[in-house]
Amino acid sequence: MNRDEAKEIIERYNNGLANAEERTLVENWYLDESRKYQFSDKDTDFLHLKEEIWKETLLRSGLIPKAPKRLLIWPRIVAAAAVLLVLAAGLYFYKGLNLKDNILAADIAPGGNKAILTLANGQKIVLNDAAKGELSRQSGISVSKSKDGELIYSFVDADQGSTENIHNTISTPKGGQYTIMLSDGTKVMLNSASSLTFPTSLNGQDRLVELNGEAYFEVAKHKNSRFRVISGRQTVEVLGTHFNVNAYTDEETIKTTLLEGAVKVSTPAAFTLIEPGEQAVWDKATENALTKHAVNTAKETAWINGIFSFEGDDLKSIMRQVSRWYDVNVIYVGPIPEEKYFGEISRTSKLSEVFRILELYNVHFEVSGKTIKVSYNQQSTVSDQPKSIK
């Protein structure tokens, strides 16, 4: 028995597919393991967590509405009821109860690690199929795939660190995401339907990459060397920081969220410096307004942890994210009210699970092939939902 086999057994268990013997083994291991830990008196200071855990429990239960954060694209709060969606990783536990109601004949799986790498000579490498190990070598730069499936650029030998301007592009399809380590040690996680063009050798004073779509950057700090990300007509300039840029062409704004360090966001009309915990928002249509405000960075970067996080997002915004991750097209039938949705859904959920949650709030889905028809049932209102006490 090795780790992989153990993993398979646990996965079967989690999916309700383990046989009686396997179930017994997993449950006994769990019991055995949990009894190994001896609580000491210093562990008893967890009691202050009671209120904290309760408050978050109420939020996730939809029993208290979350006060919406100020977001530029939703300047005022519609009087619509706050809706809390919760889909925890453990939903499968209840699957058995609901499977019959499932409207989807064929389910749609979530996205995964998929991307295409285009080399300077035009050669394309499909990364989901590519074997581990070295994939290519271009002018002193080795491109390889790590055992975790990350793409790694590294200098083969320092002298050769070429000044040649060779660019590669990594692009993810809808339903894909990919992590890449650039030759300067900068790590970039690319969300679905996005692309990043970068020089294979990033060792000068000016490191410049171009982003379409969304990516999370952990820029390696190099003395006197700036790192710039260009998205359309916006430029983000940093020295060494962690930040997220959301620059999808089908979104009205470009959002730059800073987690660590400092960045400068520039547009043709203005520039601003943002601090950790802040987000710069640039409205692409008006071009003039570049605003910044405090945000919940965990929500803004939830995708890198495999979560869709909604805080006052409307249905269309949610569906744009769904469309990118599940590789589906969305059509709206009839009026869609401006409800605000709050909560989290795992990006490992199957599409039917996402729909099952949204259907609790009177949203109806019809699936044919890769097209989803979305309609809204006006009859009842969401406030009839779990709030039993009025």
Partner: protein, 193 residues
């Protein structure tokens, strides 16, 4: 929490199925510390343990109408936590190398028939809760006995004082109809307040 703290787990489950928020609060008061303790033992990380416990309780509320009235509440919560932890184990999102631990355990257990079945495991867990180190036990008991007045409940749940009173009253009616064996003492306690 007066009245509710005297309800048995079965009574609380019946009320929870009716969508009773105060029953939900009492269940939380009763079990949060044990559930946190169990989760922490496996995950050894405060944030992930909090996350699991929040998920287990909020899912209990969101799926309350589908609960099996005959289930054992403590067992249900234990299994919910275990499912979530095993999910994290499968995704390798835990601090320890549990996959190797599982592999070793299974290899060892092949010739060993001393395995417990599901029901026995839950009995063991319940017995363990009762046999905690004294200090820990005291804390659990304290946590569970922190009785709140109607006003405090109202504040916590963002409801009016009157609503809570009415809710307590309704709860007693439901309990009375559903479970004929409620001790009359509870009613005396309630009406005297």
């Amino acid at each position: 929490m007066p009245v509710y703290s005297n309800f048995s787990d079965e009574e609380l489950t019946a009320l929870l199925k009716q969508g009773d928020q105060i029953a939900f609060t009492e269940i939380y008061n009763r079990y949060w510390a044990e559930m946190y303790y169990h989760t922490f033992r496996m995950l050894k990380d405060e944030d992930s343990a909090k996350d699991v416990v929040q998920d287990v309780f909020s899912t209990l509320w969101l799926k309350s109408s589908a609960l099996n009235a005959n289930m054992k509440l403590s067992g249900h919560l234990y299994i919910s936590v275990r499912n979530k932890v095993l999910n994290l184990v499968a995704q390798n999102k835990v601090r320890n190398d549990y996959l190797s631990s599982v592999a070793a355990f299974i290899t060892q257990s092949v010739n060993d028939s001393l395995l417990f079945d599901e029901r026995e495991i839950i009995e063991i867990v319940e017995a363990e809760i009762k046999n905690l180190p004294p200090r820990m036990r005291e804390i659990f008991e304290l946590s569970r006995k922190d009785n709140l007045s109607h006003k405090e409940i109202a504040e916590k749940l963002n409801l009016s004082d009157q609503t809570v009173k009415k809710q307590v009253h309704n709860a007693l009616k439901i309990i009375k109809n559903k479970i004929p064996m409620v001790e009359s003492g509870i009613f005396v306690l309630f009406f005297l307040r």
